[in-house]
Amino acid sequence: MQTSAVDTETTLNVASTAAIAHHDEHPDFRIFGMIMFLLAESMIFLGLFAAYLTFRAVSTLPEDQMPELELLLPGINTLILISSSFIIHKAEDSIKENDIQGVQKWFGISAVLGVIFWRVSCLNTAT
């Protein structure tokens, strides 16, 4: 196995660099792969939702004793969780643009949301 210093980025006449380039010469498919992985993982939740609906459907509890799905507090927390990724994404963008204030702002918002999330979780488990 010979090695060579030829830059694979600029020349892909593979015949001359064959022995070096191993698996680095293809476009970046990480986004594609990640989307596929996320689709797969969403099946976990699809399965759990289906199970939840079935549990409700076959439950022997009388109508009035059936526990209601809590919507308000978990809903707020879900919103916080989802928005947090956008906020961190904004913060990252700011880092790339050397915008210190922007970073502070977005991290600050993120911290505030974190505290709210924690408080809501406490409330939720307490009840």
Binding site: M1, E9, D24, H26, F32, G33, F37, I44, F55
Partner: protein, 560 residues
Amino acid sequence: MTQAIAENLPSSAPPPEQGHHSPTTWRTFFSFSEDHKVIGIQYLVTSFVFYLIGGALAVGVRAELATPEVDFVSRELYNQLFTVHATVMIFLWIVPAGTGGFGNYLLPLMIGARDMAFPKLNAVAFWMIPPAGVLLIGSFLVEAPGSGWTSYPPLSLVNGQVGEMCWIVSVLLLGTSSILGAVNFSTTILKMRRPGLQLTQMPLFCWAMLSASALILISTPVLAGALILLSFDLMLGTNFFNPAGGGEPVVYQHMFWFYSHPAVYIMILPVFGMISDILPVHARKPIFGYKAIAYSSLAISFLGLIVWAHHMFTSGTPPWLRMFFMVATMIIAVPTGIKVFSWVATIWGGKIRLNSAMLFSMGFVSMFVVGGLSGVMVASVPFDIHVHDTYFIVAHLHYVLFGGSVFGLYAGIYHWYPKMVGRMLNETWGKIHFVLTFVGFNLCFMPMHWLGLQGMPRRVAEYDPQFATVNLICTIGSFLLAISTLPFIFNAVWCWVKGEKAPNNPWNALSLEWQTESPPIPTNWVGEPPLITDPYAYGTKSGRKSIGAIRGSDLWAAKS
């Protein structure tokens, strides 16, 4: 030409790492190698070791069943033996060998890629398997799981926490590994094909892997969901599946089989693909009905997702649901039949080389047909009510998974061993291996049909003495099966070291993986891989020409 390619490159492509270019030694196979060929062989050897362990457990099971009484092992140990046997064979042998082993080794070679789309992820996926396997097998030292590989609650909730948790964690790890592998396979097939290679020009194995990957991605996470809920019930005292606390055990069965029925297709689809690629080579004829075989893989993949409740015809499911799943299950016979008839038509009229790879392939078709036909029978609700959870099912599933998947895996090993190792396997030993396996297999599993019909339930350590003789025959068959692995192991190990050197294309095959060295260099090809638009062009002049004449560079230039 170079520009056209360079445009596709990400600006931050990492520089080639030096570590990968040292020659492949035995040490490489114990390293965190990112070479798909190394990983493929790692998968194959690891899963084969687990196959031997799972086989040893099966011999334990059969030894216990040699007599109607409980005399060889205790009842508890017996339940653990068949539980771990099934889990090992499914999650640590057929799935990793079929998808992980052959998928990793062959896919990039077949589509003209230099590696998988995500080499690091690939290595991570492989290295999740040994710890999961050790955890599962190691549980025998403490307390092995004993609720069957289905692990139905409430039994799995009362059978011992330690063993059950070992099982859950192990299966979760293996499932994750399988999902990561599937992400890799599907991205590689869809995105990494050599420029100019159409989907409908790929070898059929790639189609099969695409279908299997789709199944893994859709169904495996649901099993993960079920196992997470089960572990909550087990460890945290929730009552999702525990009827004593108002839970619903049947929901677990639905979630479990939503994965575990597709799992059957995850185990058989790659083997379908391998057989479609092996038969034309040794029969010297083009595959019969390429598109029908390719699309029937997708059809099986889709139908495989909507038939799971046929495992639950006696679980108190509503009547309309049973009828729906019965019809859906029966329909799967159609795409499967297309494949079988196409294979037969492929070898019909050829110039058949009756070597070990071909014998195992033909054995595969024969045995799989038996499993497929009994599969249609058990799809019928009134009949399934009689044979569900009996030895008829045991016979059926082994005809599909042993007579099907395992015969196919053996065929694949005999066929691609020269490419992987660079040495030929010994044909005489191969044929001895085939005969022993074929006889042992049928001796072991054919009589089980009768046992089930007559009234022997599965998963029992003791049984009605009227079944003693037939069970003894099955046990003898299983011992023969155990012995049949010896010539194979001897052959594979001996030829790895001392076998006759293999030429680059010993079978004179047309598909892309044979148009390189044996074993291939780390970059798979010197220069661009050739473009093969018809990997099955046996007997045609153009097919012959396309390989020698058209070099990859021609097409790359044309594209720019």
